[in-house]
């Protein structure tokens, strides 16, 4: 039971956590933790209805804990980024990095719930699956997604103008 779930969902969970955390090492440790918790859950529960939703819900909880602990995490400012990368890299690469960082910062401005919904949607989840993961009503998933997307797009546009 555990092995196939572990192998099939590992990349998805890793990607999901990486987007929220933005740090490879941290993401890898947290992914391990997710599967440890999942293993513990398997040992104590005999039947599980929706494994995918369960694994992502565990990941959600761990991410929420992380976000709570690191509320005041340092954000790299745009100037720092440009200075740091100005060491002879191709311009295209620099631009991509800058764009990514702007996007990441914009993403971090959303509430954890919005971030998580967007990322689950990005992982190809349907509204009902997102609702199961986030313990929300299926009807409100559409609202949250729509508003979060709008807000994110607006932040990025405004950021570009600046």
């Amino acid at each position: 039971m555990f092995n196939p779930v572990y192998e099939s969902h590992y990349p998805g969970i890793y990607r999901y956590i990486f987007h929220i955390v933005g740090n490879q090492e941290e993401a890898s440790q947290m992914t391990q933790q997710v599967f440890m918790n999942f293993y513990g859950y398997l040992c104590s529960h005999s039947s599980i209805n929706n494994t995918k939703a369960l694994v992502f819900r565990i990941a959600n909880n761990i991410c929420c804990d992380y976000l709570r602990k690191n509320k005041r995490a340092k954000n790299v400012s745009r100037e720092d980024l440009i200075l740091r990368n100005s060491s002879g890299q191709p311009e295209e690469e620099l631009l991509k990095k800058e764009r990514d960082e702007i996007f990441r910062k914009a993403l971090q401005q959303l509430s954890p719930r919005d971030q998580q919904c967007l990322l689950l949607y990005q992982e190809g989840f349907s509204y009902s699956e997102i609702a199961a993961c986030m313990r929300m009503k299926e009807n409100s998933v559409g609202n949250v997604l729509s508003r979060a997307t709008e807000k994110l797009a607006r932040i990025i546009k405004n950021g570009d103008k600046r």
Binding site: F2, N3, Y6, E7, Y10, P11, Y14, R15, F18, H19, Q24, A27, S28, Q32, F35, M36, Y39, K96, R99, D100, F103, R104, A106, L107, L118, L119, Q122, S126, Y127, G142, N143, L145, S146, T149, E150, L152, A153, I156
Partner: protein, 170 residues
Amino acid sequence: MKCLKREKIRAFIDNELSPEKRKNVEEHLSQCSFCQDILRSVQEEIECVKTGLDSLNPVAIPQAMAFDTFRTEIKKRRISTIRNFMFFPVKVPVFALVVLGVIILSLSIMLFSKNILPGKFDSSKRSGLKKDTLYLLYQDRVHAVPVDLDLSTFRPIKNPNIIVISQEEQ
């Protein structure tokens, strides 16, 4: 028909509407240029977020740890959490603790039952008792009482802890 909400247009794009609602939305969109604009802007937003997130994807996802390694890792962590939970960071030999407990318990039972319990007092083993002495068991201890004491002058004793256990013949 009223103009469509953004959420509904979004759900339409994501193909999350029931066939009936979908049909209604399609009908409305074919007539309303305002909603068509919103549809386009929502599509753009979705595309923008999608490309942004795709671009943020980690370059390489580290290989998942082999299942066996993962299992040993789980065991290690469990032991370490048990150790942290206890006050001392040493693995305690549980078997030795159990044996020690059993020994202490049996010794205490033996000692307790030998002399102190009144019911267990064996009248055949009176070698420790002196002749011509009245013995009282008071509060779980044996007391010798002088025989010339005139017990008739005493008030009747109602304390149930005092039991006469032996009185040798004079």
